[in-house]
């Protein structure tokens, strides 16, 4: 993986910190001195317990929250949401009055394109995430997993260079979650996207990632960055392998180890 790091990073974070003011007056340090790179085509996960600032970190990269200190560069063009970044949240956040294809087309509509121009691409993505036949259904008619598939398709619509996934499958049941992980792995293979994932599932992080940023809180700091060299493409069978078990054990120990 060493050769990946030498290329121009898609995300470059240096000394990021985030301090929240609280009602009682004592500021809470959510992030302290976080630095990392994500290379082109790389899959990086940010893993840690709840409250370790990992979602804050992703929101800073997405430009949804300001940083208190440090810098983050995306394509060396500065952080900020836009067509270069596709975002997926914990909830699918589909607009219930728009059909699946209208929801998937939303980033194009916002960018000023007409629905009929975006529609073919929306349709193709809907098929790619396995929702064929559901393009004209409304979100209310879809299960939680199907809604997240639609959200995944929506995040890909503008063909972003970088995909940011904020615990996107945390609300799904274990089996649906496995399916969605396979889906993401498949999308990664097909599109070669650079992906940054926030998760608290060790298995999910190991299954999907090239590198895992293991965080501890509070304040949120990087404990260690673990390279995952499991061969690709990965199928669910890999989760039963000895190597997979070794990675999950290593990471669990990192998380359990006291400061």
């Amino acid at each position: 993986m060493a050769d990946l790091v030498t290329r121009t990073p898609v995300v470059s974070a240096r000394g990021l910190s985030k301090v929240y003011g609280t009602r009682t007056g004592t500021p809470v340090v959510a992030l302290a001195d976080v630095s990392f790179d994500v290379a082109e085509g790389e899959f990086v996960s940010i893993l840690g317990p709840s409250g370790c600032g990992k979602s804050t970190l992703l929101r800073i990269v997405a430009g949804l929250t300001g940083e208190t200190g440090g810098t983050v560069d995306i394509n060396a063009a500065g952080a900020g949401p836009g067509t270069d970044v596709g975002l997926m949240f914990q909830q699918a956040v589909l607009l219930p009055w728009r059909t699946v294809e209208q929801n998937v087309a939303l980033p194009g509509i916002v960018a000023g394109r007409r629905f009929r121009d975006v529609r073919p691409r929306a349709r193709a993505l809907i098929e790619m995430v396995g929702l064929d036949g559901f393009a004209e259904k409304y979100p209310g008619e879809l299960s939680g997993g199907m809604q997240q598939r639609a959200a995944l398709a929506r995040s890909l619509l503008q063909d972003p260079r970088l995909l940011l996934l904020d615990e996107p499958f945390g609300a799904l049941d274990a089996m649906t979650r496995d399916q969605m992980n396979l889906e993401v792995e498949r999308v990664r293979q097909q599109t070669g996207k650079t992906i940054l994932l926030v998760t608290h599932s060790i298995a999910e992080a190991v299954f999907l990632s090239d590198r895992i940023i293991v965080m501890t809180g509070r304040p949120g700091t990087i404990r260690e960055i673990v390279d995952v060299t499991l061969p690709r493409p990965r199928e669910l069978e890999v989760t039963g392998s000895a190597d997979f078990g070794a990675y999950t054990n290593q990471i669990r120990q990192l998380l359990d180890r006291p400061e």
Binding site: A62, L64, G80, P81, G82, T83, V85, L87, F89, Q91, V93, L95, P96, W97, L106, P107, I109, V110, A111, Y138, P139, G140, E141, S143
Partner: protein, 274 residues
């Protein structure tokens, strides 16, 4: 489709009647009890010797209703019904338009909020019905004073619901638009207004009822025409059966408006559960 079939079959609970049967029984309760009440009423008035002028039998109410609807001329219900309906619809329409405009303005502009809100709260504290005599002084005995009161009364539920609907958009929807770098105008059009529609429809249903109340009260105060005037006249004549007949007409007017709004809601806000 497999998904919806699963949902349907899951609804069949073991050990109970089929849902269709149960729904039919539930639907029968109302007409059956209504007939029983009406028959009981008729019998009670005849048997107990109460003054049947003061407490009319259902039969005489129906006769009054029929007389009022069948005849032409000044005693006919139609011109009065039409007049009241006009007041209600004009007042409702005006209140809805003003309520939506001001509500939308207050919801999206902090400046408008700072200027308009205190006045709204002040006016809201006054019972609008109490302004009815003032409306007559300002606008006369004609239809204008009735419409004005109906506008004033219907405006509030629309205004309040528009503001709170546009304010209570789920945060993650706004975040989604922000992540797509959507501008303010686009966010309002694509997310905020549709998200507020369920609230606005709830406001419309309240406003329709208020509009009828406002029209009748203004007619009581200064009316020359309308169902409110008819009620007063019949009351003076101690023609209580006619009073009841007009109450039925007013009820039908209210139900008609509520049903129309509900119909529109089901078409427009189809995604909203209830």
């Amino acid at each position: 489709m497999a998904v919806s079939e699963k949902v349907l079959s899951a609804r069949k609970l073991p050990g109970g009647a089929e849902p269709a049967e149960r729904r039919l029984t539930a639907r029968l309760w109302f007409p059956v009890s209504l007939v029983l009440i009406i028959v009981g009423w008729e019998v009670a008035v005849r048997v107990t010797q109460v003054n049947s002028v003061l407490v009319p039998t259902p039969l005489s109410v129906v006769q009054s209703l029929w007389r009022g609807l069948a005849q032409t001329g000044p005693a006919s219900f139609y011109p009065h019904f039409w007049r009241t309906l006009q007041e209600v619809l004009l007042g409702f329409g005006g209140g809805v338009v003003i309520g939506l405009l001001l509500g939308g303005l207050v919801a999206i502009s902090p400046t408008a909020q700072a200027i308009i809100r205190p006045y709204i709260v002040m006016i809201e504290a006054v019972p609008k019905i109490a302004i009815a005599p003032l409306m007559v002084v300002w606008l006369g005995f004609g239809i204008e004073s009735k419409v004005a009161l109906a506008v004033l009364v219907t405006f509030f539920p629309i205004f309040v619901n528009t503001v709170s609907g546009m304010r209570s958009v789920p945060a993650e929807r706004l975040e989604l638009m922000r992540s797509l770098r959507a501008g303010r105008a686009l966010t309002i059009r694509l997310v905020i207004v549709p998200s507020a529609l369920p609230f606005i429809f709830a406001g419309l249903e309240i406003a329709a009822v208020y509009a009828v109340i406002a029209a009748i009260v203004s007619e009581f105060v200064s009316g020359q025409m309308g169902l409110g005037v008819l009620i007063l006249q019949a009351n003076f004549r101690l023609d209580i059966a006619t009073v009841f007949a007009i109450l039925i007409l007013l009820g039908l007017m209210g139900i008609g408006m509520t049903k129309l709004i509900e119909l529109a809601r089901k078409r427009i806000v189809f995604w909203d559960g209830n």
